[in-house]
């Protein structure tokens, strides 16, 4: 370990983890409501980022500020979420896990191709981020490298937005009537139907909300890394986070996201160059460890199966 780097990497890891947690939240939402493992979530994130970019600078007609572009993108991705639920996943109700996983993988491919056709496959460097890479906050911290912790403002801002979005979502889920209906549906589809909840509407609603979360996550990621097709691979880091926290748990998704961010950052603080290189696969090593030691995750439910 390179101990002087550890304080810096701890903070960076938690801040990075915020965005991962927000994206993991979208996965858990879809899984809880409809038991769909959404491998297309990363592509919804990517689509949200591209839509925001297009509304802001990509088109030649309007020249919208970032917040307006993001609002339009959210509206568009709500529609996309509803369409996906109605056209692709409603017919798949009751199908085995393999078919559900494959149909979301198919959706992912479809979105990737359509985005490449409409927006072009090359990365977009002109995303209207309000920060420049040199905007940093320096916090004096004895024992760290140069006795300061350097925070990119964009990283802090994305963490704050991710935390706010997560909070808003949790409040919605906890205190609104629609949130209550969603929780009831997650608990048991038939009983929820029995008390007068339209389960199909709840599925649609959860996909719409997942679209919103994905778009916010996409904009946050875009301010950090820019817009590109490869953004979709974030879902492959969010899945280890979800499994670590437990598939059915919102707090688990958040803690899992933060943990994955931390692990990735701490691996980078290692003194050994081979360990540093392994930052890209660290989430998967973590995933394998979780699967072997505690497959249901930290906060998941152990399922009892009957024949």
């Amino acid at each position: 370990m390179n101990w002087v780097l550890v304080p810096q990497q701890l903070v960076t890891g938690v801040l990075n983890g915020g965005t991962i947690a927000l994206i993991a939240l979208g996965l858990v939402l879809i899984f809880k409501a409809s038991e769909v493992y959404n491998f297309a979530h990363g592509h919804l994130v990517m689509l949200g980022a591209y839509l925001t970019w297009w509304f802001a600078v990509g088109n030649n007609v309007m020249d919208l500020p970032l917040w307006a572009a993001m609002l339009l993108a959210i509206v568009a991705s709500v529609l996309v979420g509803l369409l996906i639920e109605r056209l692709a996943l409603r017919p798949m109700t009751g199908q085995p896990t393999l078919s559900i996983i494959l149909i979301t993988l198919g959706l992912a491919q479809l979105i990737e191709g359509l985005v490449a056709i409409f927006f072009g496959p090359q990365p977009k460097s002109d995303f209207p981020t309000p920060f420049s890479p040199s905007d940093v906050i320096r916090i004096p911290f004895p024992g760290a490298f140069n006795d300061t912790i350097i925070l990119r403002q964009s990283l802090v801002a994305t963490f704050v937005v991710a935390a706010l979005a997560t909070l808003a979502f949790m409040l919605f889920f906890r205190y609104t009537k629609a949130g209550l209906a969603m929780r009831a549906t997650a608990e048991n589809h038939e009983v929820a139907q029995g008390v007068g909840i339209r389960v199909s509407h709840i599925f649609g609603l959860s996909w719409a909300i997942a679209g919103v979360i994905a778009t916010i996550g996409g904009v946050l990621l875009a301010t950090l890394t820019g817009v590109s097709i490869n953004m979709a691979t974030v879902v492959l880091i969010a899945f280890p986070a979800v499994l670590l926290g437990g598939l059915e748990s919102f707090p688990g998704a958040i803690i899992g996201g933060l943990c994955v961010g931390l692990v990735q950052a701490l691996v980078l603080a290692s003194g050994n160059v081979d360990v540093r290189n392994s930052a890209e696969i660290a989430p998967y090593v973590l995933l394998l460890i979780v699967l072997v030691l505690r497959p249901e995750g930290l906060f998941g439910q152990k399922r009892i199966e009957r024949i």
């Binding site: 896990t97 393999l98 056709i117 409409f118 290189n277 392994s278 696969i281 394998l288 699967l291």
Partner: protein, 354 residues
């Protein structure tokens, strides 16, 4: 068992077990094999190259068929096991100097052992969780090949050359010769896999797919059988990887061993028909031809709208694949093989059925 008209019954065990039941089926099989064997002679270069690609992809999808179609375990790491096989074949030919007859089994065995390792989580998890374990394999294996033993495995450039294999005096330096190698492997694996369903192993795997707890109660040790399925799947992936490495003359992470390929293999299996021995052939052929159609569409559209050529050239591949996969899952989840069975049944029952 297929529906047969009254009065058509078997008179011996040999007849009961035979795969080619009628004389005309045997004639058709011989003629079909003859057509395929002479393909490099009557076909052009494109046809031979595509056929070779189809053949080695069939081998890997056959492996996936055992694991996913017969045993019901989802694998997102088949392409990574192919990579292991490709490296094993290349390294054993380069450094051990073994002939390709030995290098291919080494490739299969090496990949099989790696597959066994990543099958271990199936002791505790299944379904989606197992898919995540294989996803981890899909990322960890290519990363390892790029970072360990850089002088052997090509290091960060991620590719090494494969020597030109030879058996006796025959040098496999051109695709139409590698084609015969792939064809031989496909024939051997097909004969073995058609029969696997009739063995204890095959029945145990199918029991696990239908319900692994119930299979356990019937005395099938689900874990060891799942491991065997993983081993067979990775074994065939290794064989296919060896063939692919020999066809491409080099092997490495950049040459089509990624997550997209693993997903493509699953898609091929679904389009062809899960658990059906005809499935890999139909699915692989359909999707590889679809890929070529997509590339053609892309370049055609690019020539129509030259200002958007970068947008159009490569985009149709994922669109076509995604659409076909979604449509098959919704409208024909049992795949083309099921359609073929329906066609045969309706022919047999004519004029009483449509």
């Amino acid at each position: 068992m297929a529906l047969r008209p009254a009065g058509d019954y078997d008179r011996s065990y040999g007849q009961d077990m035979s795969i080619l039941r009628q004389p005309w089926q045997r004639v058709a099989a011989v003629l079909g094999l003859l057509v395929i064997f002479t393909l490099p002679i009557w076909g052009n270069a494109y046809l031979t190259i595509t056929a070779n690609r189809i053949l080695y992809t069939v081998v890997t999808v056959q492996g996936l068929n055992v694991l996913t179609g017969m045993t019901g375990q989802i694998s997102l790491g088949q392409a990574a096991f192919m990579l292991v096989g490709g490296y094993a074949a290349a390294l054993s030919m380069t450094y051990l100097g073994v002939s390709v007859i030995l290098a291919l089994p080494i490739a299969a065995l090496g990949a099989g052992l790696v597959g066994l390792f990543f099958g271990l989580p199936s002791l505790r998890v299944r379904g989606f969780y197992l898919a995540m374990a294989t996803l981890a394999a899909q990322f960890i294996i290519p990363w390892l090949t790029r970072h360990i033993f850089p002088e052997l495995l090509g290091g960060s450039s991620g590719r090494i050359e494969v020597p030109v294999p030879a058996i006796g005096g025959i040098v496999f330096n051109e695709v139409h010769r590698v084609f015969y190698l792939s064809l031989t492997v496909v024939i051997i694996t097909t004969v073995l896999l058609v029969n696997i369903k009739r063995t204890k192993l095959g029945r145990a795997l199918i029991a696990i797919r239908d319900n692994d707890l119930a299979a356990g109660l019937l005395g099938v040790n689900a874990f060891t059988y799942k491991l065997r399925a993983f081993f067979i799947a990775a074994l065939l992936a290794g064989l296919a990887g060896g063939l692919k490495a020999i066809s491409q003359r080099s092997v490495g992470t950049e040459l089509g061993y990624g997550l997209n390929e693993s997903i493509l293999f699953l898609g091929m299996l679904v389009v062809g028909g899960l658990g059906h021995s005809l499935g890999p052939f139909l699915g692989v052929t359909t999707l590889i031809l679809l890929e070529d159609l997509a590339n053609f569409t892309g370049s055609f559209m690019a020539s129509l709208f030259p200002e958007y050529s970068t947008n159009l050239l490569t985009s149709f591949r994922p669109i076509f694949f995604g659409l076909v996969l979604i449509l098959f899952l919704i409208f024909e989840p049992r795949g083309l093989a099921h359609r073929w069975e329906l066609l045969k049944a309706s022919w047999r029952l004519r004029p009483f059925a449509r």
